[in-house]
Every structure is written in C-alpha cells, then in structure tokens.
Amino acid sequence: MWEFIHKLGSPPHFWRLSGTMVPWFGWIALVLILVGTVGGLWIAPPDYQQLDAFRIIYFHVPSAWLSQFGYVLMALAAAVGLVWRIKLAHAIAAACAPIGASFTVVALATGSIWGKPMWGTWWVWDARLTSTLVLLFLYFGYMALRAAIDDENRADRASGLLAIIGVINIPIIKYSVEWWNTLHQPATISKLGKPSIEPAMLVPLLIMWLGFTLFFFAVLLIRARAELIIRERNKKWLRDVIGSD
C-alpha cells in the first residue's frame, strides 16, 4: 500500500498514469451525465409539490457536492504537500481550486434559479447559502494568493495554509441546516438508510453524482499535469516526455 502511494507521488509515474486515466474518466463521465440528464429531466416523475422545478436538483446537488468535495481534497492535498513536501500534492491542490470554484458557482446559481419559483426570491441570507458563498470566496482567495506570489514554493506554502484554515467552513456548510433555522431543506440523499426521496428520482441523481465526480477527476488530472509542468520544468524526465511527444 505504502509502496503504491509512494509510487503515485512520483511525478513521472503520475504523468503516465494520469495520461491513461483522463480519457477513461472523461468518456465514462460523459455517458453517465447524459444518461443522468435524460433520467432526471424525462424519466423521473415530477415532484408532488414542486412539480417539474425539482428537476434542477439533478444539476444543483452534484455541483454542491463537488464544491465541498473539491475544497476538502484541496485542503488534504495542501496538508500532504506541506507536511511531506510533496510537489505533486501541491500541484493537485492548485488544480482543485478553479474546478471547485466553478462548481460552487453552479451550485449557487442553480440554487438561486430553483429558489425563485419555490421560495419567491433569488437569494436569502440563509446559513447554507451564506456559508456556500463564503466557500466561493475562499476558492477565490486561494487562487488570488497563488497568483500574487511569483515564487512557486512560497505560493504553495501560503495558499496551502489558507486552504487548510478554510476547511473549517465545510462542516459549517454541512451542518448549517441543523444548527440554524434555515429555508434550505436538510439532507435527503445521505439518509440512504431512511430514504426521503423516491427511488425513481434517486437513481438518476446517483448517476449524475457519479458522472459529475468522474468529470471532476478527469479535469483535475488535466490541470494537475499542467501544474506539474511548472514544478518539474527543469527535470530531465519532463523534457524527455514532452520533447518526444
């Protein structure tokens, strides 16, 4: 196991492995997202209260999941990079930020679009919405900090610390619907033991969740390769690989 992790942390090995995995993740994600879209928009029955407006969840929920998952992954990678000084970990952390930020924008926007007909307003300063907006600002702060520091090692350390400190916001987002009185509904999907969503509605949602997650990893690997180039640009292996392609 340790040997595998150690090998995975080796930039040349990661470069080869990621090159093989990107098309697999990408094409499987595309198929799953298309199947999930058809299932969510046309096969799942309309909700008895929200009617067809509930179909927005097929895009909102996977995006909201990735907005938080992306941040946790970014913080974990940053922590690994800071503790063990692994360049690849910093590359992965840096690659997570723009993807996570984009899914946070989708989660906020689709939530707002759903909120207008359901709550009668585009936006409320509700605990879940506000903490998700803070998440978006944390992503922006992380990217701005990286962009502001020219030296790659210093940028990795400073932005890594910010990522780790900001992870405190994730449990706040998760439990905001329990800790405060909010308009946002509590968890429905994670209560698989006690389902509060009809299976015909749940299956397309799980397909979309898996499709979006694989998509995230496909894009993450492409971006991590790009980040790796900056950090390894003077290494012989990279020059050999890029020069021979």
């Binding site: 997202i33 407006a53 909102h60 759903w114 492409i222 790009a226 900056i230 640009r233 392609d245």
Partner: protein
C-alpha cells in the same frame, strides 16, 4: 417539442441545464488549453536551448 416543456418551470429548468453544461464544457476547454500552452512553453524553451 412538448418534451422540452416543463410547464411553468421550463425557463428555470433549462437555464439550470444550460448553465451547468456551459460550465462543464468550459472546464474541459480551459484545462486542455492550459495544459497545451504549458507544453508549448516547455517545447519552446527546449528548442531555444538547442540553438
């Protein structure tokens, strides 16, 4: 074309779908462009060193 209609929520559903797919496509496009430009930069440097 009736299958494209979601009653009084058509605009809300399709704008969410459109935005989501736009962001998915933008993610792929921007990540690939970034990788290509960095590979190009390294190749240019390698070519300059050879001269």
């Amino acid at each position: 074309m009736e299958f494209l209609s979601f009653g009084k929520y058509t605009w809300y559903v399709w704008s969410s779908v459109g935005l989501s797919f736009a962001v998915l496509i933008a993610n792929v496009f921007m990540a690939r462009r970034l990788l290509k430009s960095r590979i190009k930069t390294v190749r240019r440097r390698l070519a300059a060193e050879e001269v």
